[in-house]
């Protein structure tokens, strides 16, 4: 068995700790991801999904627990430091790209994720352009001719697709996706999901994907985790995941948490 890509041990996160509004957002998360695992994370609003992802990405300091990536303890590493191992696509298409920079400038920046940047070689190198064009062409969105367009001029879906390229153009150990299709219309969302699935399979990426869409969670990925009130309520892998239906999922949830899913409207939206 190879070394796990991600190990989260006993992770607790609090907001406004020590005040009357104290919110125990994560209550002891233990999670291990093996290479090639593509995990869909679901759960109601406020379940702690984003908090978990932000903790792994480093944008939220850890209160209790430990996070290891590729065997390195990253618990106290900055976001920029961890970027060597992790890449990320945000929910808001604006958040994942530098809107005033061109498509090729954004891709060049991403190609050097986690590497040293010097002040003598060109930011965008001539020989990179062929790679960028090929990658953009593979999206099938007609973007291969728009290398020097300001990325802010692209539509939300196009930008999210480019952000996916940026996150994977230099292969990360771990890919984080936080509802990265939620801000898109249904058709574009489906396209971006297809692209995601394709890239994850091509590179055999270990992936944590939060989704608000239960159908996507069932369709994509080889493992499914349901968070509830800051705890992992359901964790299903392999064949069991393949044959899973929505009603199975609701049943499982009831068994695990001892309560019926009252707010399944949110989950099924």
């Amino acid at each position: 068995m190879s070394e796990p890509v991600l190990e989260v041990k006993g992770l607790h996160q609090y907001f406004e700790k020590g005040t009357a509004n104290e919110n125990h957002a994560l209550k002891g998360i233990d999670l291990t991801l093996d290479p090639g695992e593509f995990v869909a994370i679901i759960g109601g609003n406020g379940a702690g999904k984003s908090t978990l992802l932000n903790s792994v990405a480093g944008s939220l300091p850890v209160d209790y627990g430990q996070i290891k990536i590729d065997g390195h303890d990253v618990t106290y590493q900055s976001v920029a430091k961890r970027a060597k191992l992790i890449s990320r696509v945000f929910q808001d298409p604006k958040q994942g790209t530098a809107t005033l920079l061109t498509v090729e400038e954004n891709l060049s920046l991403a190609l050097k994720r986690g590497a040293r940047r010097n002040f003598w070689s060109n930011g965008v190198k001539r020989n990179e352009r062929d790679l960028f064009r090929a990658k953009l062409a593979s999206l099938d969105l007609g973007l291969e001719g728009r290398l020097s367009a300001e990325i802010g001029l692209l539509s939300g879906g196009q930008r999210q697709a480019v952000t996916l390229l940026m996150a994977t153009i230099k292969q990360p150990s771990l890919l984080l996706l936080d509802e990265h299709t939620a801000a898109l219309d249904p058709k574009t969302s489906a396209t971006v999901m297809e692209i995601t699935d394709k890239i994850v399979h091509e590179q055999n990426l270990t992936t944590l994907m939060i989704t608000h869409n239960m159908a996507d969670a069932l369709k994509y990925g080889n493992r499914l985790i349901m968070l509830d009130h800051g705890q992992i309520a359901v964790d299903i892998k392999g064949d069991q995941k393949k044959n899973l239906t929505v009603s199975d999922l609701l049943e499982l949830f009831k068994q695990q948490s001892g309560a019926a899913l009252t707010d399944d409207a949110i989950l099924l939206s």
């Binding site: 920029a80 970027a83 920079l101 060049s108 920046l109 940047r117 010097n118 002040f119 940026m166």
Partner: protein, 302 residues
């Protein structure tokens, strides 16, 4: 003609400052008040160095280094101590007032007519022509270096940080370091402008920084009003034009008989107008559209 050449020569020197301010104002999206301290700092260091017999090029570069150090202090305060950027600049600027006095030893340091300066390096025509030639050479070097730097790996990262810090960090860019670098380049250039200004005026003065950020911003805004979306290099070139136009306006206003004591009030009013211009334009367009619409409706109802 005289007004035009003198506006060009002054515009060249001011545009170096305006370009410096542009880097923090537009690339980092920060209003950095350090400028009003680093401008006289560059002047003070150079003037002091010249009077102790140091050559003009080295004296000027020492001024630039002083400005960069001032930029480092403000950059450090905002990024590492989380002091709001406006306040960091004001704090550094306030501290620099004393430091500038220490450097100069008095409120005004004359640079004797016999002292070698950047503008005595070449002997070409009168003093205005010399200022234009030397200022032009320095400007060309500055712009070439900036265009080069901001297209390198690090320069691209610096631009990304100002544009989107989350994205930058997620791509492994040390945002604080990049910001500090831009602060240093910016204030180094502002000090260069102050240094050259002292050398062409023949003195450094403790109060020469007051109001300078308004002059620099006016040049930037004029440039942006003239031409909207431009690449980085072209934007720097239009800032030179902006600075020259601004000097022309000032020269014409003075020529017109406005009291020089009222000049700072005029600077402030003009920049306010420039900053409000986009909104005013929009309002005018809205009113025009409303008229057109009313006319059409009345005609349709006839």
């Amino acid at each position: 003609m005289d007004i035009l050449t003198s506006s060009i020569s002054l515009g060249f020197l001011w545009s170096i400052m305006a370009i410096g301010v542009y880097l923090t104002f537009r690339i980092l999206d920060i209003a950095d008040m350090t400028a009003e301290g680093s401008f006289p700092l560059g002047a003070a260091i150079t003037a002091h160095a010249l009077t102790t017999g140091i050559g003009p090029v080295v004296a000027t570069l020492l001024g630039v280094a002083g400005g960069a150090l001032a930029g480092f202090v403000s950059g450090f305060m905002t990024t590492k101590l989380h002091i709001p950027d406006l306040l960091s600049g004001i704090l550094t600027m306030t501290g620099l007032y004393s430091i500038n006095l220490f450097v100069m030893g008095m409120a005004n340091v004359p640079i004797a007519g016999t002292t070698k300066t950047m503008f005595t390096l070449l002997q070409i025509g009168d003093s205005t022509t010399t200022t234009i030639v030397i200022g032009g050479i320095v400007l060309a070097i500055v712009i070439a270096l900036l265009v080069f730097f901001f297209n390198t790996e690090m320069g691209l990262a610096a631009r990304a940080v100002g544009n989107n810090e989350d994205m930058s960090s997620a791509n492994g860019i040390n945002a604080d370091a990049m910001k500090i670098i831009v602060y240093m380049i910016s204030n180094g250039l502002i000090a260069l402008s102050g240094s050259l200004m002292a050398q062409t005026n023949g003195y450094a003065d403790i109060s020469m920084g007051i109001g300078t950020i308004v002059i620099a911003l006016a040049a930037i805004i004029i440039a942006e009003i003239l031409l909207r979306h431009l690449s980085f290099g072209r934007r720097l070139l239009t800032i030179i034009v902006g600075a020259i136009i601004y000097r022309l306006i000032i020269a014409l206003v003075l020529d017109w008989g406005v009291d020089p004591n009222a000049l700072r009030l005029f600077y402030a009013l003009m920049l306010t107008l420039f900053l409000a211009l986009p909104l005013i334009q929009k309002k005018i367009a809205q009113v025009q559209q409303r008229h057109r619409n009313t006319k059409q409706i009345t005609e349709e109802n006839k």
